[in-house]
């Protein structure tokens, strides 16, 4: 084959396009490097996280403001969740965090409820008031138990 500048250009374009597609998949869809430096890192401890997963959204009044970084256990064997939220979010220190579900069968996310104090949460702070995930199985179990319909 004779060297052809046009073909070289087309191959270059193809390689650029392919690498751009890989980069887009990794960064936008795969979520590499979402945590922008300067994002506010908060912690919250829950008795039960249910089906919460890393990268689940964190919302205030339904507006997504960040995502769940990691989920682990603390010394008292409770679930410790780190949240990565926007740095310019002014959250009072008595704000609360609750694990909610999008719709009946949707994914779980963390809803932040702003409190009324003047002091604001800073990076690395712990959210004091938390509300665990509601386990439907446990609710049904409680209901059955209370109605006195116990199995043998």
């Amino acid at each position: 084959m004779q060297p052809s500048p046009v073909r070289d250009l087309i191959v270059g374009l193809f390689v650029a396009l392919g690498l751009a597609a890989i980069a887009y998949l990794s960064i936008r869809v795969g979520g590499v490097g979402y945590g922008t430096p300067g994002g506010l890192l908060l912690y919250a401890t829950f008795d039960e996280v249910g089906g919460l997963k890393p990268r689940a959204p964190v919302a205030v009044a339904g507006v997504t403001v960040g995502q769940v970084r990691t989920i682990g256990l603390d010394d008292l064997l409770r679930a410790r969740v780190s949240l990565d939220v926007d740095a310019d979010l002014h959250l009072p220190v008595d704000s609360s965090a609750a694990i909610r579900t999008q719709g009946l069968l949707g994914d779980q996310f963390i809803a932040l409820e702003p409190g009324g104090e003047d002091d604001l949460l800073a990076g690395g702070d712990e959210i004091q008031y938390t509300e665990s995930a509601i386990s439907i199985e446990r609710l049904i179990g409680k209901f059955v138990h209370n109605s006195g319909i116990e199995s043998e």
């Binding site: 087309i10 193809f14 390689v15 392919g18 890989i22 998949l25 869809v29 997963k53 689940a56 719709g103």
Partner: protein, 257 residues
Amino acid sequence: MKALRRLGFRTVNGIAHLGRLTVFVGDIGNNVVRPPWRFRRLVDEIFDVGVLSLVIVCLSGATVGAVLGLQGYVTLSRFGAEGSLGAVVGLSLVRELGPVLTALLVTGRAGSAMAAGIATMVTTEQIDGLRMMSIDPIDYVVKPKALAMLLAMPMLNALFILFALFGGYLVGVGLLGVDGGTYVSSMENAITFEDDIAGTLLKSAIFGALVGMIATYRGYTSEPTSAGVSASTTGTVVTGSVAVLLFDYVITALWGV
């Protein structure tokens, strides 16, 4: 007795093929890591494998994504879970359909042409001609082709997935009225880099190496007749497709991607 003899011959022949393939691949690998790099040849081959497969890969991607969106919607809406459409389309594409379908398409489009090209060179004694000029045909003909397949496959795979996600979005959001933000966010929440994107790139790179290897081997070892050319082309498509599907299972079982 005759059947038994044939079975024995087939078995021994198959093992001999495996041995020749191993030596062949070792020869390619040896030439890849040593100069001359043959960069100009590599660019030409990437044009053949990558650029010329671009249209069929992107078109198939968009169609597959659109069908997935339609099928997923019908099933999910029974449970009122249309919100998870993005996750269903995205995960099935990234983990399975993207790498496998791209590899099958490229095997049919570029792998067969690659085998036919080398087999024709064998038939018309061009390979022997190269040897007479003391140019190693593995280094000059085979290596750039196999390497181009390995390099182009992950890129084509990424483009296939992108077009499929777009096709699914078009059908789900544009046609069936799923909320666009829900579609995208359920997809982005479900897919992670470490588990899914890295897995899809690994899979397509392995498939690329596999198809490149099979296509060049079948072409290089073809009988120097016109029947040999057609046999090596058919053999490439059949062996390549089966190998891709088989290795897909093995990779999924080993690494869970």
